[in-house]
Amino acid sequence: MAERSIDGWLEATARRLARTTSRRGFLARVGSALLGAAALPLLPVSRASGEEARPPAPDDSKLAGALGDPSSCDYWRHCSIDGFLSSCCGGTHTSCPPGTEMSRVTWIGTCRNPADGKDYIISYNDCCGNSFCGRCLCNRNEGDRPVYLTGKANDINWCMGTKTTAYNSTVAIVLGVATSSS
């Protein structure tokens, strides 16, 4: 229920921004950036104090084979990805390849880490401004929603607010532990 109410808040924000920013190129871009920033923290991420403040990403070395391999489609963080894996394209699963720019606006997935059994909030940022990478195409759709549920739709070219919207590849960043399971 908490998750849905926050979704509702996000959608309200999106709609408000949409109304106020359409037909204004620059403001629309600001709006995109805002939504991007907004999409990151305003989710059910654990924010307890102390060492919990920035929940560390779990240790992949505890995972055998593809589950712990960022260049594999079966990597645990890729449960809702749709695109070429940045780590096959000159980047890593948390950084974009040379010659690209990471989009601030993203879609969000929730993936369970098989090692600690916890659910993590994953931000799938697109890497933009270059040709298609063309390697390690990976499409998994856990929690993927249609285009009109924008923040959860992995079918969208999320290269927004970047210098160009040309799509190259995608990263998978741990934002934190999903409170629903912690």
Binding site: E11, L137, N141, P146, T150, I156
Partner: protein, 407 residues
């Protein structure tokens, strides 16, 4: 130097005249298409070749192609059939530099450009490309869906060839034709929004439907089909949600299921990038299905199930062949029908799981074809839509197929 142009002009006359006698059989003019596209023609978009090819599914041949830009393109035919409208996006330096979005206007028989209308550089790019743009039923206005992620529609007057404005659709996305000057969008709260334009293309009114689906528990996909005044939206769980757009307000019909208990028992599910198609004349709905769990709503399908919309009952099942085996033999350059080719196809059929196809389309003639496509590698299968028999594969259809669209 001053005499140069004259010398060139002179030479031009001489050479050109001789040239023509020499080239008796050459046709300098490119081929043109008939005013009416063939009943079994289909547009096959390609993300990498940046074009849509017009494929004759009977001959397995190309009839022509239209080039596009970055992203995926969907040609739309004018109501009088004379023009093709093509929303596309270009960068001044390929994937860098300044972005320009346009609606290209092409002659439907020569496929050459007649003009273009520059639109706001923010048209949506989404993988299915379904419902990215729509032409009003009166043929006057083309609406292009924008996503920045702020949502709106760019409205183009295709008769006067100019941008007439932009309509905000806060909280609502995508665009479907829904009347002479009306467009439909799907909203995040489970409703639909209808935007009606006035004669000049400005927003005249907006009406919202009642909430007709649950966006959290069982959202409908954007891959809808229209029959007359009714749009049919299919949910992740296989429920058909009818929306009647004939009246001033939007009338929502009772949902019905494409899957019975036995089907759900067997984990059958509708899925793909273009999983739904309609044969209007017979009122038959085609659904691409596979066996899979939750979150497989975009997985390719191995069967196509056919429904009689009048009876809301399944009337046929079509099992699809593994498209990869023959593709591989073809791409490896093995002569079709040759021993080597047959050997490879056999070997591959044995070892390859049938991953199915992602897109289907059905032609609208009395003897319809069912067309099945994979994205990458790109394949196009041709089936008898009624009998369900596989007729042929169209070779070398492209590199990375985007949208299938009837011409």
């Amino acid at each position: 130097m001053r005499r140069l142009p004259r010398r060139l002009a002179l030479a031009a006359l001489v050479l050109a005249s001789v040239g023509l006698t020499g080239a008796g059989e050459v046709a300098w003019e490119s081929r043109t298409l008939p005013a009416e596209p063939g009943p079994h023609w289909i547009w096959v978009g390609d993300v990498l070749l940046r074009r849509a090819a017009l494929v004759d599914a009977d001959a397995g041949a190309f009839r022509g192609m239209v080039p596009g830009g970055v992203g995926i393109i969907a040609p739309t035919r004018s109501r009088d059939g004379r023009e093709i409208y093509l929303p596309s996006t270009y960068y001044s330096r390929g994937t860098r530099g300044d972005r320009t979005d346009v609606v290209s206007i092409l002659d439907a028989t020569s496929l050459l450009p007649l003009g273009e209308v520059v639109i706001p550089p923010k048209r949506s790019e989404h993988t299915s490309w379904v419902a990215g743009s729509a032409l009003s039923d009166d043929g006057r206005f083309l609406a292009v869906f924008n996503l920045t992620p702020a949502t709106s529609l760019s409205i183009v007057d295709v008769v006067e060839r100019r941008l007439v404005g932009e309509v905000d659709t806060p909280g609502c996305s995508l665009v479907y034709a829904a009347g002479p000057r009306r467009f439909l969008s799907l909203c995040a709260d489970g409703t639909a929004l209808a935007v009606t334009l006035d004669g000049s293309g400005q927003e005249a009114s907006k009406v919202r439907s009642e909430r007709f689906f649950d966006p959290v528990a069982d959202p409908v996909t954007e891959k809808a089909v229209r029959r007359g005044d009714e749009w049919l939206f299919v949910s992740f769980e296989g429920y058909v949600h009818p929306v009647d757009v004939s009246g001033g307000s939007l009338r929502v019909g009772d949902p019905w299921s494409l899957l019975d208990d036995a089907d759900r028992e067997g984990a059958w599910r509708v899925g793909g990038m273009q999983p739904i198609a309609l044969h209007g004349p017979s009122g038959e709905l085609y659904a691409l299905v596979h066996q899979g769990g939750v979150d497989t709503h975009k997985d390719p399908g191995t069967e196509v199930w056919v429904y009689d919309l009048a009876r809301r009952a399944r009337v046929r099942r079509v099992e699809l062949r593994n498209p990869m085996a023959s593709f591989a033999a073809d791409q490896l350059g093995l002569a079709p029908g040759s021993l080597a080719a047959r050997a490879v196809v056999l070997a591959l059929d044995l070892v390859l799981p049938n991953r199915g196809v992602e897109r289907i389309a059905v032609t609208q003639d009395p003897a319809p074809l069912l067309l099945t496509a994979t994205g990458f590698p790109a394949t196009l299968g041709v089936y008898d839509a009624r009998g369900g028999t596989h007729l042929r594969d169209v070779k070398e259809v492209g590199i990375a197929t985007s949208l299938l669209a009837l011409p």
